[in-house]
């Protein structure tokens, strides 16, 4: 069973529908029992970093997530804000602590905004690292982004795909069983669905 975490931020049904389209039943939940029973966990998200963290904290599920993901190594996918929350800290609005599962900071695009309009909205090319499991059979790797902030990890080796928008930034990250994508696979049509398929095919070693 795949669990999509409901923490009041963003488009849960889009992710659920996308999974259904590839033949996978998913449950939208924030119940500890569901998280424990889940085989994979997805954290979607649209909105601001501080609100995201606040909502997660209020649900009191962070300890369970840490147990399931960090200790039990359950496959985990963060989407957009969900990926950003993996960071140590986020700079949106005010400096806020994140989950800290991937060391790094979430900061705003540092670009000439008269040339590169912010938010970064639309379809952009993604450059995956060779053979990364998420991007298997994905041609061409163009996905839908809608964000003003992005995660800058301390350890560059967790970046498994980059994109360009006035600066190079992490489009996808992976640290063992923890995946994060800055773009929206559930909004990227055929190739987006493939990303989800590939994530679900990941088996913990």
């Amino acid at each position: 069973m795949v669990v999509i975490i409901d923490y009041g931020m963003g488009n849960l049904f889009s992710v659920k529908n996308a999974l259904e389209a590839i033949g996978v039943e998913a449950k939208i939940s924030n119940e500890p029992d569901d998280l424990r029973r889940a085989e994979q966990i997805i954290l979607p998200g649209v909105g601001a970093f501080p609100d995201g963290m606040k909502n997660l904290k209020n649900l009191d599920i962070i300890p369970i997530l840490e147990e399931e993901v960090l200790e039990k190594k359950k496959p985990f996918l963060g989407i957009c804000l969900g990926a950003q929350l993996l960071a140590t800290q986020g700079e949106e609005h005010q400096l806020t602590d994140g989950l800290g599962w991937i060391k790094g900071r979430v900061r705003r695009f540092q670009v000439d905004e008269s040339k590169f309009r912010i938010p970064h909205i639309g379809w952009n090319d993604v450059f995956p690292k060779k053979d990364n499991i998420l991007f298997k059979n994905v041609h061409p790797p163009i996905f839908y982004f809608v964000h003003s902030y992005h995660l800058v990890p301390e350890d560059q080796s967790v970046i498994v795909a980059t994109s360009e928008y006035g600066e190079t930034f992490a489009a996808a990250l992976q640290k063992e069983n923890i995946f994060g994508v800055q773009f929206h696979p559930e909004k990227s049509q055929k190739n987006g669905l493939r990303i989800l398929e590939n994530f679900l095919a990941y088996k913990k070693l």
């Binding site: 049904f13 905004e113 590169f116 938010p119 952009n124 061409p140 163009i142 809608v146």
Partner: protein, 266 residues
């Protein structure tokens, strides 16, 4: 395309081609100049959304132009059904006035919500929505008439109410308040298929640093290219051209691609 000899057109953020679906009384309609030139039935929105999705639309915009509860109900129903089958970003709008409206539309499947008249009446709404849902969810829709040569005035309430406000002034204000994007519609050009108002688009694109979606007037493929190259639009929206010409999105995209404008290849 996927072929090995694919050309490398400057790898970067692509221009978006966005069909606009106007909902009224359980169908889609296409008004001309916001109804002054009449209105035609252009089909059933749910299957049309699927058609656009199969033609790789970059986004979809659904606007309820019926006003009132029934219109909203139909919009919500449409959004839900579309979200089941189409995995492409969706903007929804039409009579949005409160944060609760925002929430309702987002829950039904919209990714972004567009506000128009309500934002002019109470600009703080933009900031509130941006704070609550994030700027990227907030599209400020601006309808404009050229009331004197080179002078573009914002109109609200479906093009009926003159505000006296010049478009660039309002666009700047909306951006400052936290709008993520501007959906800019030329009332004079809408439904005419005579071309976008390039001066208008350029004026607003130059006035703000957020993406501008050009809307109103696209009649053939070349118009889209002009809106990007001359108007500097980040995205090109259209409606009539997909209903009243032998042009589907895929064909338009390949034309735009051939004109060396960065767009998602077919």
């Amino acid at each position: 395309m996927g072929l090995e000899s694919v050309i490398v057109i400057s790898l970067m953020l692509k221009v978006r081609l966005i069909p606009v679906l106007l909902l009224k009384k359980g169908r889609m309609v296409k008004p001309i100049r916001f109804g002054e030139g009449g209105e035609r039935d252009v089909g059933w929105p749910i299957t049309t959304a699927q058609i656009y999705d199969s033609q790789d639309a970059d986004e979809l915009v659904f606007l309820d132009i019926e006003a009132g509860k029934q219109g909203r109900g139909f919009l919500l129903d449409t959004l839900e059904k579309v979200a089941e089958k189409c995995f492409v970003p969706v903007t929804a709008g039409g009579g949005v006035a409160t944060l609760e409206d925002f929430r309702e539309l987002l829950k039904a499947g919209a990714d972004k919500v567009s506000i128009n008249t309500a934002a002019m009446e109470r600009p703080e709404l933009i900031r509130e929505a941006a704070n609550k849902f994030g700027s990227q969810c907030v599209v400020v829709s601006i309808d404009v008439r050229e009331t004197a040569p080179g002078h573009y005035e914002v109109f609200t309430s479906g093009g009926k109410n003159p505000t006296g406000l010049e478009v660039a002034v309002w666009a700047k204000q909306a951006a400052e308040l936290g709008a993520g994007e501007i959906l800019l519609t030329s009332i004079d050009k809408e439904g005419t298929m005579a071309g976008y108002d390039l001066e208008l688009i350029k004026k607003v694109s130059d006035a703000v640093k957020i993406p501008v979606i050009a809307n109103g007037g696209a009649g053939n493929r070349q118009h889209f290219v002009e809106a990007v190259n001359i108007g500097r639009a980040s995205a090109v929206a259209a409606s009539s051209v997909f209903h009243f010409s032998d042009s589907n999105l895929t064909q338009v995209k390949s034309y735009i691609f051939n004109a060396k404008v960065a767009i998602r290849p077919i």
